[in-house]
Structures are given as C-alpha cells and as structure tokens.
C-alpha cells in the first residue's frame, strides 16, 4: 500500500517535470551547447574568448552591474522602511498599494514611453522644476543613466515592496512587544528583532530585483544611450544575434549573464545565511 501511494505521488510530479524540462532545462542546455560550438557545430571556446577579449563587449558587464546593483539596493532600501511603517496597516493603504502595483501591470515599454514625455526636457516634471526655480535649465532625466535607473527602479520596486510587506506583516507582533518589554526602544527592536527576521525576505527580493534589473533591455534602449554609456549586456546579446546573426556568440553572452546572476545570488544567499541562522519560520510561535 505504502509503495503504491508513494509511486502515485511521484506520478503527480510528471507535469511539473515536463514543464521544467520544456521551459527551462532544454533551452538552457541548448543555449549552453550553442555557446560552445561554431556555426558548423564543432566545439569551441571562441565565443567566450571573443566576449572577454572584446573591450566593447566586456564593459557591458560593468555597465549593467552599474545599473542593476545600485537600483536594486535603492529599491530594497526604500521598501524596507516603508514596509516597516505599513506593517500593521495604515490609512489609505489600498490606494498606496494600488500606485505601487500599477507599474507592474503597465509593462516596461509603456512606462518608458511615458517617462520620455513626462520627464523629457519639456515634460511636466521639468516644467515644475523650472516653475519652482529649482534649476536654471531643464534637468536631463532621459537618454542617460538617470533615465534607465529610474525606469528600472520603478518596475522593480513594486515587487520588492509587496514581497517585503507580506514578509514583515507575517512576523508575530508579540515579538516586537516582547522586545519592548525587555527594554528595547523602537530602533533597537527594529535592528535586533525585525531586521534579522526580515533578512530572508530581503535576500529573496534583492535577488529577484537584481535578476530583473540585470537583464534590462527596453529601458536601456528607450531611455538610455544604447550605443554608448548604457549599452547593457542584454543589448550586446541582442546585437550579436539579430544584427550580426551570430547566435553562438549571443548564446555565450546569455550564458555569461546567467553566470553573473548566479554569482550575485550566491553572494546574497551567503550573506543571508551568515545573518540568519535561526529557524526558517517567521516566529509564528
């Protein structure tokens, strides 16, 4: 009986495995294979060597990290105190959450297009800045680093916010009370109790945000200078694939992207396990 039911349970895994193979393992394996071959199918490391020896390609790593890391840090860094204040609910929470969720539903291109007009030299934002005499001439928010960073930040922030809000409001409120009763003020309670308990959530939302930001493409094209300072790594892959029609080289770049993302995730998770050694449950009692 026991064996049968276990086999039965294993059968239930089949759809998930098929799904995983079709959507993840097969494309990944195919990409890895393509990146390690020439157009004629023979084995080579040339695609990787070309990327690492081509100064113009190589610097896309730095450019992309230069966008993804600060933007992600900032998004998570703003989300943490905001969620802390909203953890027991605040008046107008629904409206606030609504405005944070809207960017998710609109999609990258629409936001970028909107930003082009809203934040452009003649856009409302600059008109406001000029009207308030905050600057002499229009501040440039588009076609530069700021444009890309703001756009990427706007898309990533809602995820960080919603995820962390769920996380922090799941922490047993008695833990805060207990800490207070033991003599801790609000600040000490935050750093000694809430923050450590939020670390797993912070780590996960950082990883998620980072991966999204690292593969930034439309924002960089629409709001940056894609040929120069904001030539991100995804753009390099795109150009090799669809401008030079070298899919092998493009595959190699996407493998390198994956490797960098995994590396950053590994670093974040190492930080997490260093800080958070206790139970994985969120202190539910």
């Amino acid at each position: 009986m026991k064996g049968r039911s276990r086999n039965g349970a294993l059968l239930l895994l089949i759809p998930a495995i098929v799904f995983l193979v079709l959507l993840f393992i097969y494309p990944f394996g195919y990409g890895l294979y393509t990146s390690l071959t020439k157009a004629d199918g023979s084995f080579t490391f040339a695609n990787y060597i070309r990327f690492f020896t081509n100064e113009r390609d190589l610097r896309t790593i730095g450019v992309t990290l230069g966008i993804a890391v600060p933007v992600t840090l900032l998004a998570v860094g703003i989300a943490v105190p905001l969620c802390y204040h909203m953890r027991r609910g605040v008046p107008g929470e629904k409206i606030i959450s609504f405005f944070f969720i809207v960017p998710v539903t609109l999609g990258t291109v629409l936001i970028s297009e909107g930003m082009l007009t809203f934040m452009g030299p003649n856009g409302w934002l600059n008109q406001l800045i000029m009207a308030l005499h905050l600057a002499q001439k229009p501040v440039q928010f588009t076609h530069n680093y700021a444009g890309v960073a703001i756009s990427v930040g706007l898309q990533g922030f809602p995820y960080a916010f919603l995820m962390l809000l769920g996380y922090i409001s799941g922490i047993n409120p008695d833990l805060e009370k207990a800490s207070q009763m033991l003599g801790a003020n609000k600040w000490q309670t935050f750093w000694k109790v809430l923050f450590p308990l939020m670390v797993p959530g912070i780590a996960i939302s950082f990883c998620l945000n980072f991966v999204m930001a690292f593969s930034v493409y439309p924002s960089a094209v629409l709001l940056g200078q894609p040929s120069g300072p904001q030539r991100v790594i995804a753009l390099a892959a795109y150009q090799w694939a669809f401008e030079k029609f070298n899919f092998n080289a493009a595959s190699a770049i996407s493998m390198i992207m994956a490797a960098i993302e995994l590396l950053v995730i590994a670093v974040v998770l190492a930080w997490r396990s260093k800080l958070y050694k206790g139970a994985s449950i969120v202190g539910k009692g």
């Binding site: 047993n172 009370k177 207990a178 009763m181 003599g183 801790a184 000694k192 206790g278 139970a279 202190g283």
Partner: protein, 390 residues
C-alpha cells in the same frame, strides 16, 4: 531593581472604538503578591494586562507605582522603561536567537559587562531547569521548554512586576500541572510581584494570593482563592467557580435565625430550602431581605458535587423541600464519578447537573437532594445595566 511598595491601578478604562474592553478597573498590587485575573475568553484579561504594561495606551485612568504616576492616559512611561516583564501566551521567543541569546537579550541592552551577562543567564537557565539548552534555537524545543525560556528571559532582568498571559494554555494537561507547581515554587523563591492571567479556575485557585474575577471588562470580585471559591459575589462568579446549577425563583418564606437566614425559594423545578450563613451587615443579607420584601427574584446556585442521588421513595419521606425529581439524559463517565445531566420532571427546560458514584442509566428517573447549607442565594439586581450582558 528599583524598590517599591505597591502598584495601584485606578479607574483604568480601555475602549476600542465603541467597544469597552476594560471598564473602570481599579486594583492595588502589594509587593511580592501573586494576583490572578480570572475570566472567560474575551472578558478583557489580556487587554487589562497590556494596558498595565503600557503596550496598549489606556483611554482613561491612572497607574501608579507608589507615588510615581507612570500612566494617566495623557502621558505615560513607555513599556521599556517600566521594568516590567511579560510572558506571552505564545511565548514570543526570538526565533533567530539561541536560548542563551534570548535570555541575554535584555541584559545586553542594559550594557552589562559580559561576564555578568554570562553569569546571570546561566543562573536563570538553572532556575528553570534548562542548563543544557543554551545553544538550542526555540524551534528545536518543546512547548514546555519554550515556556521556561520565556520565563527565564523575564526573571533574569529582575522585573518589578511580572505579567503572565495564559502562560500554560498551550500545553497538555500533565505539563500544565507540572509547570504550575514550578511557577508556584519560583514565586516562593524569587518573591517577584506577579499578575497571572488565566481562564482556568484550578490554576487561579492553586497559584494566587488574590483572584480578580472579570466579566465583560468589569471586575466582579476580588478576593482570596477561598473567598472566591466559597463565597462568590454574584451568580456570574458562582457559575465560573463551579456552581453550575443556577435556578431562578422567588422567596416564599424567610426565617432569620441569628447569623443564618433560612430562605425557602420556590424555583420552577423544586422548592429549595436554604441555610445561608450571611452575617449581620453582609450586603448579600440585606439584598435577600429586600428581595423577600419586594417579591423580587433570586437565583439559587448549587455545585453539581453537592447534589446527591437518593434511593427510590426516600424523597416522599423527606417531604417536598430540596428534593429534585429528574430523568437522566446525559451520563458521562469521568473516572471518580459519573457526571449526570438531567431534566427536571414536569418542568420543560429546567436542568440539573450533578455528580454521582452510583450508576444511573440514560433515561432513568431518579430523585436527588441537596443539603440546605450548600445552597447559595443571590438577589437579582433589578435591571442594573453594568451586570447585564450586552
């Protein structure tokens, strides 16, 4: 610990919107006293406790430690400055810290030297019999062990007042009794002033110097366990400490006989003769005399264990008084006795609960009687809004 003589709570009230969770709550705690808040779920025990700690702001009233006002609804000393310790119902141990770090939490905040922290943590863990557990995490411990960590975490700081919110309610029956003994022993040793919240009368009776019985946020009675158990102040308290049989009726005859009152109460199911030892000057005595004179209703209260099954026909010999004729419709075997619930013959809806060692079968008709001295009588307050249910 800063020394003090007494903590007084004066007319403390807490409202949530238009719901009054704690109503006009006044009480004094003497140093080293063990006071229990006893009451059914939702009567405001936790709210009262949280108000005293300052974790919930009070709506009105005052809290004093000797002459120092720590809360007057407008200004209040924050909880972390009151030097009170609280054990939460779900323990609220920090899951990311080991047992040792949990217990050391408050000491470290006080910036004590490391060696002293170590020493006091070790002492506290020894006191709650958890010497070997220092490096474990709360999730690796049983409920009872976690409970002890929570207690150690408080007492290591030598609080002026220790507050325990239903600390045993999540444990199994055996452990509950064990930990109850330990709590009692701990209090004997440390003499820390304690407020203990429970809905379990056995816990309250076993542990307390004084019991505060609560209903709908209002204090019903304050007294020693003996007083509350044998001289409940009103039908609610009586019901709560086990006087399960409460029957309404009218006093037919009232004889005053020195210290005792002999009231014959006609209830729906039976004529109850009573012998009330309410001395001269007792407000309950005056209330009953008043009820007799005005013809107002009274409630009789009898414990199930004070009602005895008598042999067939014995009732007729005794006459009408205190004989209850009934039919068993629920018999529960409870080891030492059967717990019987029966309906009274000829009275739709009137019930009697009793304990009996003799075997009564389901549906069996029998007679039972009660000793007049074991019956309590309460004059019903005529439409007093404070005591009536919402």
């Amino acid at each position: 610990m800063r020394d003090f003589k007494r903590i007084s709570v004066r007319r403390m009230t807490k409202r949530f919107g238009d719901k009054t969770a704690v109503d006009d709550f006044s009480i004094e705690f003497g140093k080293e006293e063990f006071v229990t808040f006893l009451g059914p779920s939702g009567c405001g025990k936790s709210t009262a406790l949280n108000c005293i700690t300052g974790l919930i702001p009070i709506t009105s009233g005052e809290i004093y430690i000797d002459d120092e006002c720590i809360d007057d609804a407008k200004t209040s000393v924050p909880p972390e400055k009151r030097e009170f310790g609280m054990v939460f119902q779900n323990y609220a141990l920090f899951p990311h810290l080991t047992v040792k770090e949990n217990v050391a939490f408050g000491l470290k905040l006080r910036k004590l030297p490391k060696t002293e922290v170590e020493k006091r943590v070790d002492d506290a863990l020894r006191l709650v019999h958890l010497e070997g557990y220092a490096t474990k995490f709360p999730s690796q411990m049983s409920g009872g062990e976690q409970q002890r960590v929570a207690i150690a975490r408080c007492i290591v700081l030598e609080p002026r007042l220790l507050l325990l919110d239903e600390p045993l309610s999540n444990l199994d029956a055996k452990l509950r009794v064990e930990l109850r003994y330990e709590l009692k022993a701990l209090h004997e040793r440390l003499k820390v002033t304690t407020i203990y919240v429970t809905h379990d009368q056995a816990e309250a009776l076993a542990l307390s110097d004084r019991i505060v019985v609560l209903k709908l946020g209002r204090i019903q009675q304050v007294g020693s366990p003996q007083t509350v158990f044998t001289k409940p102040a009103n039908p609610f308290v009586a019901d709560f400490v086990g006087y399960k049989n409460a029957w309404k009726g009218k006093i037919e005859v009232l004889k005053e006989n020195g210290g005792t009152l002999g009231a014959s109460v006609r209830t729906k199911g039976a004529l109850i003769e009573t012998k009330l030892s309410y001395p001269e000057g007792d407000p309950r005595r005056d209330a009953i005399i008043a009820a007799y004179k005005s013809g107002g209703s009274v409630t009789t209260a009898i414990r199930p264990e004070d009602i005895a099954v008598i042999g067939q026909g014995e009732g007729a010999a005794r006459g009408e008084g205190n004989v209850i004729r009934c039919v068993a419709d629920l018999v529960e075997y409870q080891g030492h006795a059967n717990s019987i619930s029966a309906c009274i013959k000829g009275c739709e809806g009137e019930r009697v609960d009793l304990h009996s060692a003799s075997d009564i079968a389901f549906g069996e008709a029998f007679e039972a009687c009660v000793d007049p001295e074991k019956v309590l009588v309460f004059a019903m307050p005529e439409a007093s809004p404070a005591r009536s249910a919402p």
